[in-house]
Amino acid sequence: MISRTKFIGAVEIGTSKVSVLIGELSQDRSLHIIGVGECQSRGVIKGSVADFRAASDATHTALMAAEQSAGTRIDEVYLAQTGGHLEGFYNEAAVNVSAADNMISALDIDTVCRLAKSKNLPDGRMVVHHLRRPYRLDGRIVPDPLHLVGQRLEAGYWTVHGPEAKIADNIHVIRGFNVRVAELILSSLASGAMLASPEDRQNGALVIDIGAGTTDFVLYRDGSAQMTGVVPVGGSHLTNDLSLGLRLTEGQAEKLKLRFGRGTIVTKDRAEKVWLNGDFAIGDRQFPRYSIEQVTSARIWEIFEVVKKKLGPAFSPEKTAAGVILTGGTAKLPGIDEAAAKVFGVQARLGEAPGWVAENLRDPSFSSVLGLLQYGLSSRAEAAAAPRRKAAGWVSKLFATV
């Protein structure tokens, strides 16, 4: 058999930066990350493309850097999707088992799944993900009901949808580089696939990815994603708060946030001050440390509260035994896990990438883009397991690049 290697680009067009990883997918389905590219993002506000040209330039720069780093060309892209425009809802359906002996057939499963996914969307919106919750057979949870005996089969889907125009904008940014988008993956699902172990998902875990412009979260229970969401607030809001509160430029505020920002207030001495630059040059000023911590922790606290509110009754500390897993660039803020633990009432920790991830990619800001590769490949493997049309050969691949 001819060995065929595919080069997959994982792309996250974030509010503050564009991250690209290139994975080499071998015939034996082993994945090696062979290229990294980053670029400061432009033209993206709260996860949505606001300036197509600027966003394209930034994204393409990152793609080129990754290709140069890998020394090869990307065949297709797995693209992260985030933004406040994404919403979700839960819909479920139930069917009575059709067979006389009450044994569930593939047709029963197919029917209940189609019914559960059939809820109409508002005009101009389209589905990004259908996340199936575990089946229920006569009220009991079963991972695979095929050939089991029962009377009533239920299936439920958490459907993530968004406006077609905004989703298309993201896709067109990638198509402008003349690469096909093979998978569109919610950022929170990508981060969750990377950081939450199967045990965490089974026991219940909340993964929160706090980026610069948005905060993505996914709640796992019974081994599958129960709910996802996006809060259009992120680390850049902390910077903005500091800028407004302390009368600083964005750059100065960002610098202070990174050096002295915290998720919780630990400074007791309200008179303690910190230097802006620390070089005692002209323009270097002092700021009260307590104020900085107060501003950042208040915003972090608020973000968690919003997430908790969005989760609503779906979240309960009793059913989230694995706790809260934090990731994203803002998750590097000291004390943020303590804040999460206080807000959600469960243990909280910073997510850690698996051991196979290289040292330079273990930063929390890469968890989402790393997870794109993992989630994309696993979902494709599941799709390939189902009967489907035979994949086309090199000719279709060649024409697909046009």
Partner: protein, 343 residues
């Protein structure tokens, strides 16, 4: 539950967004990649098209004029022709026969056509024409050897002597020593049939060749007296009739006990008749009968006799032959068999 409920219309997903390329929405790198991809496709299409066209051209040229294919391979001019043969043909004959075009290159030559030209002469039994790179054509011939001659006329040309080989091929001999050619007996009693530009092969020449070959090696004196070999009765009673300077009709039997014994008997009979006083010229000797007695016919010395109606006279085994007519010539006993005679 209604059919619509069981088969709800599928909801639109992000995969329904067309991923078409709009060049105006592309970055410079994207356009570069697009050009590269289009160039890639165009290149592949061109390569495939060129390959297909090449195959088509090759096939069509192969069918119409195969020499063009070889001509395209190289254009080194032919410098020399080397000849290797087991016969008498020389290089000048080969050059005349091949009639190579002037300044022809080695690869332009159609070896099959050249080989056919050589084989068409008849004198050449097999020919191998090969290229010896870079600029030499080698010709290896295996020639036929003439056994007899035959007078024939092709079209409106004057009758001339053709050579006949052991395998019955009739051809115009070339390069033979005239003295040697003159010693070959003429062939008679055969009907030449046109075949292509020449004649069809003659049956029975292998037997004639055996007879003449045995005579030439065993009794050269006798062989040199042979003038005409007739196959007129070959297909009737398997006999070959030879007219020599001494005997008008010597009949050899193909099915008899070998030409060597028959020639030995003939030699004995001729010796015996020469010893008679006065010598009795032999008109006919029939060696095809075999056994210890040979029918012979005598003619009058100096008398004109066509040998067709000889007077027959029966003589005893030991009696001297009568002056005129036929007789059974008794051969000596087995101990002094003519077959063991020292020629």
């Amino acid at each position: 539950m209604s059919q619509l409920t069981l088969n709800p219309p599928p909801t639109r997903t992000w995969r329904d967004i067309p991923q078409t390329v709009t060049p105006r929405a592309m970055s410079r790198e994207g356009k570069k990649r697009l050009v590269f991809a289009v160039g890639n496709i165009v290149g592949i299409v061109l390569v495939l098209g060129a390959a297909g066209w090449g195959v088509y051209e090759l096939v069509s040229v192969w069918e119409t004029n195969p020499t063009r294919i070889t001509a395209a391979a190289s254009s080194v001019p032919l410098r020399d022709v080397t000849l290797r043969t087991d016969g008498v043909l020389d290089k000048s004959w080969v050059m005349r026969t091949l009639d190579l075009p002037k300044d022809a290159s080695l690869m332009e030559l159609d070896l099959s056509a050249l080989q056919n030209r050589l084989l068409a002469t008849g004198q050449v039994q097999s020919a191998v024409v090969a290229r010896k790179f870079p600029d030499i054509l080698t010709v290896t011939l295996q020639e036929r050897s003439p056994v007899a001659r035959v007078m024939a006329q092709l079209g409106s040309a004057a009758p001339q002597a053709y050579m006949v080989s052991r395998d019955g091929a009739v051809y115009q001999g070339s390069g033979y020593d005239q003295r040697l050619a003159d010693t070959l007996p003429f062939l008679d009693g055969v009907k030449l049939v046109r075949s292509g530009d020449g004649f069809a092969r003659i049956d029975g020449m292998d037997q004639v060749s055996d007879l003449l070959g045995t005579a030439r090696t065993s009794t050269p004196a006798l062989y040199h007296t042979f003038r005409v070999v007739s196959l007129a009765r070959f297909n009737v009673d398997s006999t070959i009739t030879v007219k020599s300077t001494e005997v008008d009709a010597i009949t050899f039997g193909v099915a008899s006990d070998g030409f060597y014994r028959q020639l030995a008997r003939l030699d004995y009979i001729l010796d015996e008749t020469r010893r008679q006083n006065p010598p009795q010229p032999l008109k006919a000797v029939n060696l095809a009968v075999g056994g210890s007695q040979v029918p012979v016919a005598f003619g009058a010395a100096g008398a004109s006799d066509d040998g067709n109606n000889p007077r027959t006279t029966t003589v005893s085994k030991t009696a001297a032959p009568a002056p005129f007519g036929t007789a059974l010539f008794s051969l000596p006993s087995r101990n002094s068999s003519p077959s063991k005679r020292d020629f």
